[in-house]
């Protein structure tokens, strides 16, 4: 998924959707215990939701939240582990029927599905919702509908350009998508936010950002942007039509804009309504205070499914030399980078581009060193071969955010023995991803991250390393790698019709790319959160950057 991410990590609903994550410590008495129906569940958060409009919002945090108010044709499962990232039918009766060799996909809607207004959800509403993705103002979220579905180049969404002929609705229950080229995994694509139904003719401009039209188990009762958000039950939603959502609490109450330290203190104390609260990942300073048995029982942890990495701009000297990039890969002390991020409780050391949660990912270490502390001698040898025994100077872009700055300093320190002077260029938090995504403003290296949209290499490697995707603005190929071998391999894999074979091939492509060392994989960040003592039914969902799955969480004692 799109940039946006890692730095703020799970705390601020970082970014990107998919991903699968590892384990989480759940016991019968802890947050995994059975939840009752009813009660008010509190969510304490630092940052507010980016958008309530499903065509606009696109990060792990909102994707999770959207499942409470929106339904899509298919959706991810509601379970810990791999079950959670399995695609299951939601509004549709199945995960789609391909025809024409995978170029045409047909979905049939369930009976008895309604909007909060009481109007039935028809295929025309789904089509209207998907068409909104082409609107230049609204379509800033998930890019997949635009990328895969055939459409005239001039098409600008239903409000400006009207009807899109390549999505047909033969009757009120059936919707047919015509794609540009065959896509084997389209059943996963229709789980994206952009496949949310919107009543035909509605949702122009900012309408849905202030008042979403719900198709899920909850509807918006009160929303003060940046301060609070309250969801109550949508009585038009019928549990019988929905195999995914348990929808335990009667009310969801978000409080935004809280200081991260305040959130941690409140969760540690767990007094009053905070016993019914969930929150994001704790700060590094709080980890040492969570070691009592009582707090450990309220702790949940797992990988967030993203990779934090340092992109090396292969168009700049001397980073255009593969030996120099390999030397940097060898020299980085990933232990200190991890400590800068919060230590082993908040991150795992990463050596491959794809995080462990990706299907078909191969675990290997292309640039090994003892305890991942960096191999300075090996790196020095490579630099000498490259004729740079006396080092060089490079500029590292980093976000004006303590965690990322600390990581930049760790990298600076790790390269110092090689006489490589790293100048840290701190860029404002708000414009960081825009600046490093503009090829003319990009420096030699940048620390960033990437999360998959669903746990497949297809949403990880091509966006980051396909040389034909380099754009002057909004560029995601930070290393600007344009390698014929890699490009050819990407094309070859995209033609595979077997999803499993494709995933395995991406695992091999990961190795092929790392041989060129265009990036330094640094960390797989973890979520580590405290939940209130009355929270039940909670597990970390691998599809939502390791956040607690909101459609299943609830209160153990709803009357309390």
């Amino acid at each position: 998924m799109l940039v946006g991410l890692v730095a703020t990590a799970a705390l601020t609903l970082s970014a990107c959707g998919g991903g699968t994550s590892g384990t989480s410590g759940q016991t019968a008495a802890g947050p995994g215990a059975k939840a009752e129906q009813g009660g008010t569940l509190q969510v304490l958060a630092n940052a507010a939701f980016s958008h309530l409009d499903p065509a606009r919002g696109f990060d792990g945090g909102v994707n999770n939240f959207y499942r409470l108010i929106y339904r899509t044709l298919t959706t991810q499962g509601a379970a810990p582990g791999a079950e959670g990232t399995k695609i299951v039918p939601d509004l549709a009766t199945d995960t789609g029927k391909p025809s024409d060799g995978g170029k045409t996909w047909t979905f049939t809607l369930k009976d008895g599905v309604f909007f909060e207004t009481g109007a039935p959800i028809t295929s025309a509403d789904v089509k209207w919702g998907v068409e909104r993705a082409w609107d230049p103002e609204l379509g800033i979220g998930s890019p997949y509908a635009k990328q895969l579905i055939e459409a005239p180049a001039s098409y600008q969404g239903p409000y400006k350009s009207g009807d899109l002929a390549t999505i047909s609705t033969p009757d009120a229950k059936t919707i047919v998508f015509h794609l540009k080229k065959p896509f084997a995994d389209f059943g996963s694509v229709v789980a994206q936010n952009t496949f949310t139904p919107v009543p035909k003719g509605q949702g122009a401009g900012n309408q849905l950002d202030s008042k979403p039209i719900s198709s899920g188990p909850y509807e918006l009762a009160d929303y003060k942007p940046g301060a609070s958000l309250k969801l109550v039950r949508n009585d038009k939603w019928d549990k019988k039509t929905d195999n995914v959502r348990t929808a335990n609490p009667d009310v969801f109450q978000w409080t935004f804009g809280l200081d991260p330290a305040t959130i941690d203190e409140r969760m540690l104390a767990g007094q009053g309504t905070d016993a019914d609260a969930i929150a994001g990942t704790v700060q590094a300073a709080t980890v040492a205070r969570m070691q009592t048995p009582q707090l450990k029982q309220r702790t949940m942890t797992g990988i967030n499914g993203c990779t934090t990495y340092m992109g090396l701009n292969t168009t700049k000297k001397p980073l255009d030399n593969v030996k120099v990039r390999q030397a940097i890969n060898l020299a980085i002390n990933k232990q200190t980078v991890r400590d800068a991020d919060g230590g082993s409780a908040l991150a795992e050391i990463g050596n491959t581009i794809q995080p462990p949660t990706i299907t078909g990912r191969v675990d290997y270490d292309p640039y090994p060193s003892q305890d991942n502390k960096g191999d300075i001698d090996g790196a020095r040898k490579l630099l000498t071969e490259a004729g740079l025994a006396n080092g060089f100077t490079m500029t590292l872009d980093t976000r004006a955010q303590p965690k990322m700055q600390a990581m930049a300093v760790a990298i600076q320190q790790a390269l110092e023995p090689l006489k490589v002077t790293v100048k840290i260029n701190t860029i404002d938090t708000a414009t960081y991803y825009e600046v490093i995504g503009t090829t003319s403003q990009q420096h030699d290296a940048a620390i960033t991250g990437w999360c998959p949209d669903w746990p497949s290499g297809a949403t990880f490697l091509p966006p980051l390393f396909d040389g034909r995707n380099i754009t002057p603005k909004g560029n995601t190929n930070l290393s600007q790698l344009n390698d014929p071998g890699v490009n050819a391999k990407i094309d070859e894999i995209s033609k595979l019709t077997d999803v499993n074979a494709a995933n395995a091939a991406y695992g091999e492509l990961d190795k092929q790319i790392m041989a060129l060392a265009p990036v330094v994989p640094l960390l797989y960040e973890k979520v580590l959160m405290l939940v209130g003592s009355n929270i039940g039914g909670a597990y970390l969902h691998d599809g939502f950057s390791g956040g607690i799955d909101l459609v299943s969480v609830g209160l153990k004692d709803a009357g309390k």
Partner: protein, 317 residues
């Protein structure tokens, strides 16, 4: 120069004039060394200045550089909290280590003193020059020169300086941060000195000895440098001594707010800022840089206050 004999005469006349002998440096020093409190302040400041000057030597002695990571000193499993009590104070890390990276706090305090002292002294020098020159120009020439300078001073003093400093520093590219800090602090700092100097210059310019100098044919520059400036010495010393702690505080404050010197440069303000989230697990990380900042500012303020009292007494005598 035909006027020189007259000038000598005038200069000789000054000490016996109504302004009384300006407090001599010697008297200030002897009085201060007799005052225990002031002496303690002086000693502490001497230590800080010594640390700043000899930072590389001192860290060589202590064994840890300010940027050197020590992964062994922190507990990665507990979020990077230092091993041992009191923030990891030990024989090898005298003041303990910074959480999450194990950098030696002693080395960072020593190098942080460098940043604080350099920035505050440079800013004091720059404000001193700006304040004295512009204040004297305004007070001496009056008329439109005074109008222009005084309005500029009013404008700068009425400005919400801190907010503006934060805005400027966060919008400027990172470049040479210390120089930027000095310039920004000085731009907003000089009017306070200049206003006092202007007033004093106006009074002095009407004194008999100045008129006598003029009557003997002294040029403006001679009057300014030989007659007026020496009599402003007391005010300048007091104003600048009292300004230094203010600048140290401002630098620390701006670094605390994240617009001061950029990492990895050590700065007390930055250390305090990053210690905030660690206050409950590692209070020493806050206490040590906090104590140094507090004691430095306190010492300078006490000392400045003492000097002012002495000079006032001298002038009154």
């Amino acid at each position: 120069m035909t006027t020189s004999p007259t000038l000598v005469e005038v200069e000789e006349a000054v000490p016996s004039g109504p302004l009384a002998p300006p407090t001599s440096g010697k008297r200030v020093v002897t009085t201060i060394t007799r005052d225990k409190g002031a002496l303690a302040c002086l000693v502490f400041l001497a230590i800080v200045v010594l640390m700043a000057v000899a930072a590389p030597l001192i860290t060589k002695l202590s064994g840890w550089g300010p940027y050197q990571f020590d992964s062994a000193a922190i507990n990665s499993d507990l979020g990077g909290v230092p091993h041992g009590s009191l923030g990891g104070i030990s024989g090898s890390h005298w003041f303990g280590v910074e959480p999450q990276n194990g950098r030696d706090l002693f080395a960072r305090i020593v190098y942080g003193a460098r940043v604080s002292i350099t920035i505050s002294l440079s800013a004091t020098l720059l404000t001193g020059i700006l304040g004295v020159v512009l204040g004297m120009l305004a007070g001496f020439y009056r008329g439109w020169v005074d109008q222009v300078i005084s309005r500029l001073m009013d404008f700068l003093m009425a400005f919400p300086a801190l907010i503006f400093m934060i805005a400027i520093l966060s919008s400027l590219p990172s470049g040479n941060r210390p120089v930027l800090l000095v310039v920004v602090i000085s731009v907003f700092g000089w009017p306070y000195l200049a206003r006092v100097i202007r007033g004093q210059t106006m009074t002095l310019a009407n004194r008999e000895f100045v008129e006598a100098a003029r009557a003997s044919g002294a040029k403006d520059t001679q009057v300014v440098f030989r007659e007026i400036l020496p009599n402003l010495r007391g005010s300048i010393v007091v104003m600048t001594t009292l300004a230094i702690p203010g600048f140290i505080g401002t630098e620390a404050g701006l670094s605390f707010l994240g617009v001061g010197v950029s990492p990895p440069t050590a700065s007390w303000g930055q250390m305090i800022a990053s210690s905030v989230s660690w206050y409950s697990v590692d209070p020493m990380f806050f206490a040590i840089p906090g104590a140094f900042l507090f004691l430095t500012v306190l010492s300078l303020t006490v000392l400045g206050d003492k000097i002012r009292t002495l000079i006032d007494q001298g002038e009154a005598a």
